[in-house]
């Protein structure tokens, strides 16, 4: 019990003093996860929208693949990317292995299917009557699409936040392709693994607290978004 109490005491001190190493790890984590999220969003939302609006061959097969990839084990992504980026791999000459760029690529791969699937569901969830209302008011096809995406905005934001939640807690892929190098590729989750192995629980607990705060913040934002989104749902079309 003393170990835990002492660990927490030291952890709070580290956070209170804004320990430089700790801050470096936190900032790198946020940089990696937010950049990956940005890439996942920029690629994922339009893909989800295209799957919803366009007639695409093998659409349902693609959606099934995306839904399956939502549960993709991060270590598998890490392994795949490691094989691609290692010296003997096809992209080895780029020298990306054990860099933050490799970690961003890995997390983007994890974020993409989440954003695609949930954005697709969000856009598809907007009642057909909204598209028709826009059309009957003279909106062009593009303007109708914009109207629908606007109506789905809260649910799309939820999708993005859900992806961020997964990325911030992810450890398998970044550990494999990042290598957990101090000051270069060490992020919150990989540092917790290392510090726990070393028995330096204070740092591990401090990082754990920060990670929990990040998760709590994400959940709080998700809650607010989902509340606003609930108001945004349109009533179903009544066929007379």
């Amino acid at each position: 019990m003393d170990l835990i109490v002492e660990g927490f005491r030291k952890a709070f001190l580290l956070i209170y003093r804004l320990d430089a190493d700790l801050m470096g790890i936190i900032l790198l984590s946020l940089k990696v996860s937010l950049t990956a999220l940005l890439i996942g969003t920029v690629a994922g939302v339009p893909t989800g929208a295209a799957l919803s609006f366009k007639r695409i061959p093998f659409k349902h097969a693609l959606l099934n693949i995306m839904n399956t990839l939502m549960g993709l084990p991060p270590v598998v992504v890490g392994l795949f990317l490691y094989l691609m980026l290692s010296r003997r791999g096809p992209l080895g000459s780029m020298g990306l292995l054990y860099t933050s760029s490799a970690m961003i690529i890995a997390q983007s791969i994890l974020a993409f299917p989440i954003v695609v699937s949930l954005s697709y569901a969000a856009i598809n969830g907007v009642s057909m009557v909204i598209r028709q209302a826009a059309a009957t008011l003279g909106a062009s096809q593009f303007q109708c699409t914009v109207a629908v995406i606007k109506e789905a905005r809260y649910a799309i934001l939820s999708a993005i936040m859900a992806a961020f939640g997964r990325l911030s807690a992810e450890v398998g892929a970044i550990l494999i392709v990042g290598g957990n190098i101090a000051g270069r590729t060490r992020v919150i989750t990989s540092a917790i693994v290392l510090e726990t192995d070393k028995g330096d629980f204070a740092v591990a607990i401090a990082l754990g607290i920060v990670l929990l705060c990040v998760s709590l913040s994400v959940n709080a934002v998700l809650y607010i978004i989902s509340r606003r989104g609930r108001v945004g749902q349109a009533s179903e079309y009544l066929w007379a």
């Binding site: 009642s127 009557v129 909204i130 028709q132 209302a133 826009a134 059309a135 009957t136 008011l137 003279g138 909106a139 062009s140 303007q143 109207a147 606007k150 109506e151 108001v231 945004g232 349109a234 009533s235 179903e236 079309y237 009544l238 066929w239 007379a240």
Partner: protein, 217 residues
């Protein structure tokens, strides 16, 4: 000047049921028409075809301005509108909902402000313009939908069951608004209803769907 709507040899089937067959009718400009009949006779389908939301299986739907037939280059979709029974409320303010049709037409803000304010006054929602539209009652929503449809000054105004699911006060308000539109705007009005009293009050002509045809009563 309103617009004339002419349907010729219209055919529409739905799950092997023939709803319209060789149906021809002309809705003359600046007149008010009611399509009456019980649910399931095809009134809504007919309006949706006229609003170009649904394609007929056969036949033609022509829009005439005087003697001239309009085509796609005349921007028909921007000159007609259909108020659906479920209004399709955008998750924004009442003001923005009514302004939507003007915004997609890239009207100036001052023009939008004036028109939206005047229409919200007409439908009795002037004091609720900043409210979130989804919090309106069903009667208020219907009136907002009417203001939104009128904002674009349609040459053909189609309404699908405009008084369904509204209370007596809103029923009277909607009836008054439609009468006011009929007398003050040169708009062709076509509305579907199962309410014969409403049809008698507003329409110049009352038609019914019978054996796949539109018949005047």
């Amino acid at each position: 000047m309103g617009m004339t709507l002419q349907v010729s040899q219209l055919r529409k089937t739905y799950r092997d049921n023939v709803i319209f067959d060789a149906c021809s009718y002309t809705f003359k400009d600046s007149m008010a028409y009611a399509i009456v009949g019980p649910n399931g006779t095809g009134k809504s389908t007919f309006l949706r075809m006229c609003a170009l939301l649904e394609k007929p299986d056969a036949g033609t739907i022509d829009f005439l301005h005087g003697d001239r037939a309009l085509d796609k280059s005349d921007g028909i979709m921007r000159r007609i509108t259909l108020l659906l029974p479920s209004v399709g409320v955008f998750n924004t303010s009442v003001y923005e909902n009514v302004a939507y049709g003007l915004r997609v037409r890239k009207c100036k803000n001052t023009e939008i402000e004036q028109r939206v304010a005047a229409l919200l006054k007409l439908v009795g929602l002037h004091d609720k313009m900043k409210r979130r539209a989804l919090t309106l009652s069903s009667g208020e929503t219907q009136r907002m939908g009417l203001a939104r449809a009128l904002a674009i000054a349609p040459e053909i105004l189609m309404l699908d069951e405009p008084t369904a699911a509204v209370d007596t006060a809103n029923y009277k308000a909607i009836t008054d608004i439609l009468l006011s539109v009929k007398h003050s705007m040169k708009t062709t009005i076509i509305f579907a209803t199962h309410d014969v009293k409403l049809a008698d009050n507003i329409a110049d002509r009352v038609v019914t769907v019978s054996d796949g045809l539109l018949m005047e009563i």
